[in-house]
C-alpha cells in the first residue's frame, strides 16, 4: 500500500507527459489525487491503530507525526486538483494574457508539464512524510523544491521568474545546510553503542543512541551544532524569519492553487525535518537547547510577520506573511512543550486548511479583478458573493476568531505557555496576534465592502470548481473549531508524545 502511495503520483506524472489529450491528464490529476487520499487515509488508520506499516525494506515507515502531515498534504492536493481543472480550463480559453506588474504579454508553460510537476511534488512530499531515514527526508525535500519551481513559473513573465530564481537558490542553499546537519548527526553518534547493520530506520537507531549518551558527553556540542544546521536549513524552507525572504515572492507569483499547496503542505513538510532533529535532541536530554531556539525563532517570525502585515497592500503577500506568522506559532508551540505541542499539531492542521482556502479564494479574486492591490479590489460582495462570504469567513478563521479551529489551537498553545510559566512569551504572542488581527482585518474588509467598479458586470456566475474546494476546506476548519473527534485528538496526542508533548 505504501509503495503505491509513493509510486502512484510518480507513474501518473510520467503518463501525463506521454499523453497529449487535455481531458486525459486533467482527469488523471484528479483521479490520482483521490486515490492518494484514500491510500493516505488507510495509512493513517493503520498507524492510528498501532500497526507499523512499512514498505521498500523500511524506507517507508510512517509514524503518527509523518502520517499527520501526509494526510494533510493529500487532502489539500485533492482540493487543489479539483480547483486546477477549472483553473486550467479558464487559462486555456483566455485570449490574451497580460502581466499585471509590467503590463506585457506572456505565455503559460505547457499545461501537462504543470500537472506532471504537481504529481511529482505530491510524490516527493509522500516520501518526506513517510520515511524514517533522515537522508531520504533530505532528498525528498530537495525534490519538492525542484518539482515546485516549474509550478511557480507557470506564468512565464519577469516577476514570476524572479520569484522562481529566488526560491530555487535560497531553498537549495538552505537545504544544503540541512544536509550538513545530517552529517553532523552522524558525527555525533560515531562510535556510540553497538553498530547495528545499516538500516533505513535511522530515527529509531539515532533515538536509541541518543538515549545512551551520558550527561555532559563530548558528543553534545556536535548534536547541538547538528540541530542548528537542521533548523537553519529546513527553517529556510519552512519560512521562519529571518530566513523567509523567498516566501512572500514565491507565494505571490505562483498560481493560487500552487500557493495553497506550498503554504498548506510544503511548509509542514519542512517543519517535519526540524521536528526530527528536535526529537533526537529530546532523547539526548538536550531538549532545553532546541526548545529555546524554537521559541526564539517562533516569536521572531511572529513579530516579523506582524510588522510586514500592517499596511500590506498586496493581498497575496498578506497571506504569505500570515504563513510566516503561523509557522512561527508552530515552532513556538513545539518549543514550549507540554500541552502546547498538542496545540501546535492541531494548529498545523487548521492552518493548512484555512490558509489553502484563502489562497484559492485569492485566485478567484485575482482572476476577476486582475490586480494584486487590495486598494483596487472593491465591492467583492456584489461582484462575487460566494467568494466574498468565504473570504470573510476565511479571514475570521485565519486570525483565530471563534468558532474556527485556529481559535482552539491558538488558545491551547496559550494555555501551554501559561502552564510553562513563561509570561513574557505569552505577552509577545498575544501582542503579535492582536496586531496581525487588526492588520489583516483592514484590507480584507475593505475588499469585501464598498461599491463595485463601474466597468465590472455585477453577476458573472462563479464556477463550482472555484468555490467548492475552498468551501470544503473552510467547513473542515469550522468543524475542527466546534468539535475535534476523539480519534483525531488521540492521533494528535500520539504525534505530540514523540516531540515532548
Amino acid at each position: 500500500m505504501l509503495e503505491l502511495l509513493l509510486f502512484l503520483p510518480l507513474c501518473s506524472a510520467v503518463a501525463m507527459l506521454l499523453f497529449k489529450n487535455a481531458t486525459v491528464y486533467r482527469g488523471l490529476l484528479l483521479l490520482t489525487a483521490l486515490l492518494h487520499l484514500v491510500l493516505s487515509a488507510c495509512t493513517v488508520q493503520a498507524v492510528n491503530a498501532g500497526h507499523a506499516p512499512a514498505a521498500l525494506g523500511g524506507l517507508l515507515a510512517p509514524d503518527p507525526l509523518g502520517a499527520l502531515f501526509l494526510i494533510l498534504a493529500s487532502l489539500l492536493n485533492v482540493a487543489a486538483s479539483f480547483y486546477a481543472i477549472g483553473y486550467l480550463r479558464d487559462e486555456e480559453n483566455k485570449q490574451e494574457r497580460i502581466d499585471i506588474q509590467h503590463g506585457q504579454p506572456f505565455t503559460n508553460a505547457p499545461e501537462r508539464r504543470f500537472t506532471a510537476c504537481l504529481c511529482l511534488f505530491l510524490s516527493a512530499m509522500t516520501l518526506v512524510t513517510t520515511t524514517p531515514h533522515l537522508g531520504a527526508l533530505w532528498v525528498g525535500i530537495e525534490i519538492t523544491t525542484l518539482s515546485s519551481a516549474p509550478l511557480i513559473y507557470f506564468h512565464r513573465h519577469q516577476a514570476s521568474l524572479e520569484a522562481t530564481w529566488k526560491y530555487l537558490m535560497i531553498c537549495s542553499v538552505g537545504i544544503a545546510l540541512a544536509l550538513l546537519g545530517n552529517i553532523l548527526l552522524s558525527v555525533a553518534f560515531y562510535g556510540i553503542g553497538t553498530d547495528l547493520p545499516e538500516s533505513f530506520d535511522q530515527m529509531t537507531a539515532f533515538l536509541a543512541k541518543a538515549a545512551q549518551l551520558p550527561e555532559d558527553s563530548p558528543h553534545a556540542p556536535w548534536l547541538k551544532a547538528a540541530f542548528i544546521f537542521l533548523l537553519v536549513g529546513y527553517g529556510t524552507k519552512m519560512g521562519l524569519a529571518p530566513l523567509h525572504n523567498w516566501l512572500p515572492d514565491a507565494h505571490s507569483q505562483a498560481p493560487s492553487l500552487i500557493s495553497a499547496m506550498l503554504s498548506g503542505a510544503l511548509l509542514n513538510c519542512a517543519f517535519l525535518g526540524i521536528l526530527r532533529g528536535h526529537q533526537i535532541l529530546l532523547a539526548a536530554r538536550l531538549g532545553e537547547f532546541s526548545s529555546t531556539l524554537l521559541v526564539f525563532f517562533g516569536l521572531f517570525s511572529m513579530i516579523t510577520a506582524a510588522v510586514f502585515i500592517v499596511g500590506q497592500g498586496h493581498y497575496k503577500r498578506l497571506l504569505a506573511y500570515s504563513s510566516v506568522e503561523h509557522m512561527g506559532i508552530l515552532a513556538l508551540g513545539v518549543g514550549i512543550g507540554g500541552l502546547a505541542v498538542f496545540g501546535a499539531l492541531l494548529h498545523a492542521v487548521c492552518h493548512s486548511l484555512t490558509k489553502s482556502m484563502l489562497f484559492l479564494l485569492a485566485g478567484n479574486i485575482l482572476t476577476r479583478y486582475h490586480t494584486f492591490s487590495s486598494y483596487d479590489v472593491r465591492g467583492l460582495r456584489w461582484t462575487m458573493p460566494l467568494t466574498a462570504a468565504l473570504w470573510t469567513a476565511g479571514f475570521l478563521g485565519i486570525v483565530g476568531s471563534p468558532p474556527f479551529g485556529l481559535f482552539v489551537s491558538e488558545f491551547t498553545i496559550l494555555k501551554g505557555i501559561f502552564a510553562s510559566g513563561s509570561f513574557g512569551v505569552a505577552a509577545v504572542y498575544l501582542l503579535a496576534l492582536a496586531v496581525i488581527f487588526v492588520g489583516m482585518s483592514i484590507p480584507v474588509l475593505r475588499m469585501v465592502q464598498g461599491t463595485r467598479p463601474r466597468d465590472m458586470p455585477q453577476t458573472l456566475p462563479e464556477s463550482p470548481f472555484s468555490v467548492l474546494p475552498p468551501l470544503g476546506l473552510g467547513l473542515l476548519a469550522l468543524c475542527l473549531g466546534l468539535y475535534v473527534p476523539d480519534w483525531l485528538s488521540a492521533f494528535l496526542a500520539r504525534g505530540a508524545m514523540l516531540i515532548g508533548g
Partner: protein, 213 residues
C-alpha cells in the same frame, strides 16, 4: 598514502582561493571541474579497503562533478550573449581575503571541537568548511546567476567532503542518490538561467527588483 591525501587537501584549499579570485565565468567553470576531480581522488584514498561501492561512487563523482557539471555549465554559458565576467558585489580580492578568513576560522574551530580520534584525517574538516564558506561567498557575492549556481555547487562539495570519512558501504547508495539530486538541481537551475537570459536579456540578478514590500 596519508601524505598524498594531505597534499590533495592543500590543493583543494588553493583551488578554493582560485575560485574566489577569478573574474571570468569560463575560468570559474574550469576551476569547478578541477575541484570535482580532486574530490573524486580524495574519495579513493581514505577507504579502509577498496570496495566496489567506493569505486563506483568515485567514478560517479568524477563523471558528474568533474565532467558533467562543467559541460552543463559551459553549454549554458555558450547560449548566453552576456559579458563573460562575474561582476562581483564583493570584489575578487576581498572574496579571496574572506575565503582565507574562513580557513583561519575553520582551523581555530577544529582545535576547539571534541573530535572522535580516528574519525577525521587532519586538515579534512578545515578544508571542508573552507569549501563551504567559499561556496557561500560566491552565492552572495556575485551578480551573475551562473556564478550563484557554481557557488551552490561548491558549498555542496564542501558538505560532501565532510561526509567522506563517514561513508559506509551501505551508505554509498545514498550518496549516489544525493549526487543525482544535485545534478537535477543544477539542470533545473540551468533551464532557469536560459529563461532569465531570454526574459531579462542578461543573467545579472541585480536586475531582479520587481518583487519587494
Amino acid at each position: 598514502m596519508s601524505a598524498l591525501f594531505q597534499f590533495l587537501l592543500i590543493l583543494l584549499m588553493l583551488n578554493n582561493l582560485a575560485l574566489a579570485g577569478v573574474s571570468r565565468l569560463r575560468s570559474l567553470i574550469r576551476q569547478v571541474a578541477v575541484q570535482g576531480v580532486l574530490l573524486a581522488l580524495l574519495l579513493m584514498l581514505p577507504a579502509r579497503q577498496f570496495s566496489f561501492e567506493h569505486l563506483l561512487l568515485a567514478a560517479a563523482v568524477l563523471l558528474i562533478k568533474g565532467i558533467g557539471f562543467p559541460i552543463l555549465l559551459s553549454r549554458t554559458l555558450k547560449k548566453l550573449s552576456d559579458d563573460p565576467h562575474v561582476e562581483p558585489w564583493l570584489s575578487c580580492g576581498l572574496s579571496v581575503l574572506a575565503c582565507m578568513a574562513g580557513l583561519a576560522f575553520s582551523l581555530w574551530f577544529e582545535g576547539r571541537l571534541p573530535i572522535q580520534p580516528g574519525l577525521f584525517p587532519s586538515l579534512l574538516l578545515p578544508a571542508a568548511l573552507m569549501t563551504l564558506f567559499c561556496g557561500l561567498i560566491l552565492v552572495v557575492g556575485r551578480r551573475k546567476a551562473l556564478s550563484q549556481v557554481i557557488g551552490y555547487l561548491i558549498a555542496e562539495n564542501g558538505i560532501f567532503l565532510l561526509g567522506i570519512p563517514l561513508m559506509t558501504e551501505e551508505a554509498v547508495w545514498f550518496e549516489l542518490t544525493i549526487l543525482l539530486d544535485v545534478f537535477v538541481a543544477v539542470f533545473v537551475m540551468g533551464i532557469a538561467i536560459n529563461h532569465i537570459s531570454k526574459t531579462f536579456e542578461s543573467i545579472d540578478v541585480g536586475r531582479f527588483c520587481s518583487l519587494r514590500d
